[in-house]
């Protein structure tokens, strides 16, 4: 009996929970402007998220999936990507989307049950939110295949949750991307929970990064609350993919500091104390500590930033609430490039009842 293959899974952290650097930082880490841009975006996410929950509680938004606690992963990934890369989100990675140009009002519009929220003026090719868990993974592999067919130095970046790693589509897509050496980087956001199921019940795998081994691709674990490490790991993975080095699976260890969605009540299943402990590792505070310790940030600036974020969010709320209701027709408008003749009578019926509604 001899060994025919062996594997190591590495973990990367560059900024610890106290805000202390823990390793060699890449170039962007030495540029305060870049650090501040990322910190501002994380803060915007936090403010946006808080408002969204409030909007839902007061009946002005549908069920909403919060992002609090995961901002470093989301913004770090966004900052590492190039504009012409393509993002395949799940449903709560607003930090990446906002970084890439999706609007606050668009996100609210989406969660308010309106397809128009998926129209992205910014990243025109980015995919919209993907509700059927893991089904976005092959889309990303397909986009990566298109880049390969056309010889473009672009990457597809796909998100997936820890729960999502139980779905076949996740493995299938990684395996296919590995077999065809596609420029794909998949980010498992391991936030500890899939609604009420903790990750230890989702798999016997000690890490989710090791799922890369099944596909014969690179896998790495990163502190997902550490925006420096997330961005660094992503930049390396993206560069490798762009250079024909194939896909990478990045596991970002973070925590869902909120309920699963506003329709969920995590107190039903989450052990006491876990949430409080997780708040000690959250991403914003450690970044602020670092920035303040190095003289790049002050309490005054913080207050101004909060106010600015609030103003942006308030403007977005006004914008989505001012959007006139979609017409009933719109159900038929984008079904096909050209609506088949047979469906015109149905469209007329829908229009008729819309007019006589209420």
């Amino acid at each position: 009996m001899h060994s025919v293959a062996n594997f190591d899974i590495h973990y990367r952290q560059l900024l610890d929970a106290a805000g202390m650097p823990t390793g060699e930082w890449p170039g962007f880490g030495r540029d305060p402007a870049q650090l501040l841009a990322m910190y501002r975006m994380m803060t915007l996410c936090r403010v946006f998220d808080t408002k969204a929950i409030n909007l839902q509680r007061t009946g002005r938004l549908g069920t909403y999936a919060p992002c609090t606690g995961q901002e470093a992963t989301h913004v770090g990934v966004g900052a590492a990507m190039q504009a012409d890369d393509v993002l395949f989100p799940v449903y709560r990675e607003y930090g990446t989307q906002l970084w890439r140009g999706v609007t606050l009002a668009g996100i609210y519009t989406y969660w308010n049950g309106d397809e128009r929220g998926t129209w992205f003026d910014g990243p025109r090719q980015d995919f919209p939110w993907c509700v059927p868990i893991a089904s976005q993974m092959p889309h990303a592999a397909g986009a990566a295949m298109a880049f390969k067919v056309r010889g473009q130095a672009r990457c597809a970046v796909a998100y997936i949750g820890d729960g999502g790693t139980s779905q076949g589509a996740f493995y299938e897509a990684l395996n296919a991307a590995g077999a065809q050496t596609l420029p794909l980087v998949a980010v498992v956001v391991n936030n500890g929970w899939a609604i009420s199921v903790p990750v230890a019940e989702q798999t016997a795998a000690r890490t989710l990064a090791q799922k890369a081994i099944a596909a014969g691709i690179a896998g790495i674990q990163v502190d997902g609350n550490d925006i420096i490490a997330v961005r660094a790991v992503m930049e390396e993975a993206l560069a490798r993919a762009r250079n024909g080095g194939g896909p990478t699976l990045v596991e970002a260890l973070t925590y869902r500091l909120s309920d699963h969605t506003t329709a969920d009540d995590a107190t039903r299943y989450r052990p006491a104390g876990e949430l409080e402990a997780a708040w000690q590792r959250e991403p914003l505070l450690r970044t602020r500590h670092y920035l303040q310790a190095h003289g790049h940030w002050s309490d005054t600036q913080e207050a101004a930033l909060r106010a600015d974020c609030q103003a942006q969010v308030d403007a977005a709320v006004s914008a989505y609430q001012a959007l006139p209701a979609a017409s009933t027709d719109s159900m038929f408008e984008h079904l096909f490039a050209q609506l088949p003749h047979e469906l015109q009578a149905q469209q007329a019926s829908a229009r008729h009842y819309a007019a006589h509604k209420g």
């Binding site: 549908g62 199921v197 019940e201 039903r268 159900m331 079904l335 829908a350």
Partner: protein, 325 residues
Amino acid sequence: MAKLTLVEAINLALAHALQNDPDVVLMGEDIGRNGGVFRATAGLQQRFGALRVQDSVLAEGVIAGMAVGMAAQGLKPVAEIQFMGFIYPALDQICNHMARMRNRTRGRITLPIVVRMPHGGGIHAPEHHSESLESLLCHHAGLRVLCPSTPARAYGLLLAAIRNPDPVIFLEPTRLYRLARQEVEDDGVAADLDCCHLLREGQDVTVVCWGAATHDVLQAAHALESESIDCEVIDLSSLSPIDHNSILDSVARTGRLVIVHEAARNCGVGAEIAATVAERGLYHLHAPIRRVTGYDTVMPYFRLEHDYIPSVTRIADGIRETVQA
């Protein structure tokens, strides 16, 4: 006797089955510790333990596929799919295996499985949480497909489904989960399978419907009384097999047929009912058969969902036009 909502009646039936049959095992995403996203299984894991009420990994294909293997060993799995829009990854198992195993093995391996899931829209949920896909399952021989419309019927039909030696798809109208309460006796009595139910007798027109639509149809029927239109309302209840004889009997009396469903029209279950009446009851028809259904569009996000789901007005119009035709 307790007055229960439909979801409470389901919980009661599940508890009864777990209590009285050691082979019954529940499985599904978030059904254990969390009691199900609609609370259909609330309290059951605490009461019966984590092996009888299992939190599954997040994979519908595995849930349905493991149910096959468990049932072949004589367990009676009752699997939950969290929303009907997430049934697709389970379809290979449901259609290629559950529906076929008894036939494939000439009766050697049989599969007493129930696959439960929320059905339909109207609760302001995100995309993929409001689907009505019964027709896909009804098209496959070897499956029974049920859809209750009241708490009491939900209790009785679910027990019947669990005791049935063959796979049953059990659709639970989300809009009805908490809509109304009804007295439900926890008597362990299973309802009859393969038959429909008369909700209201009438002379002028037969209206066939199921699930949440039954409530809208009854409202429309009530409203039409003032126009002296007397509706007979049939709750299909068993979507496959369809109790065509009862529908044909009713149409023989009324001479008119309206079918109402929330699912898309094209190749929906309504088409099957209409086709069968056009085949076996044509000479009784005094007017064209009419279907009032969801449109052949994608179920819209929730701001427009009530423009998609047949409204009471739309149903009443369909009935009125059929009676006046």
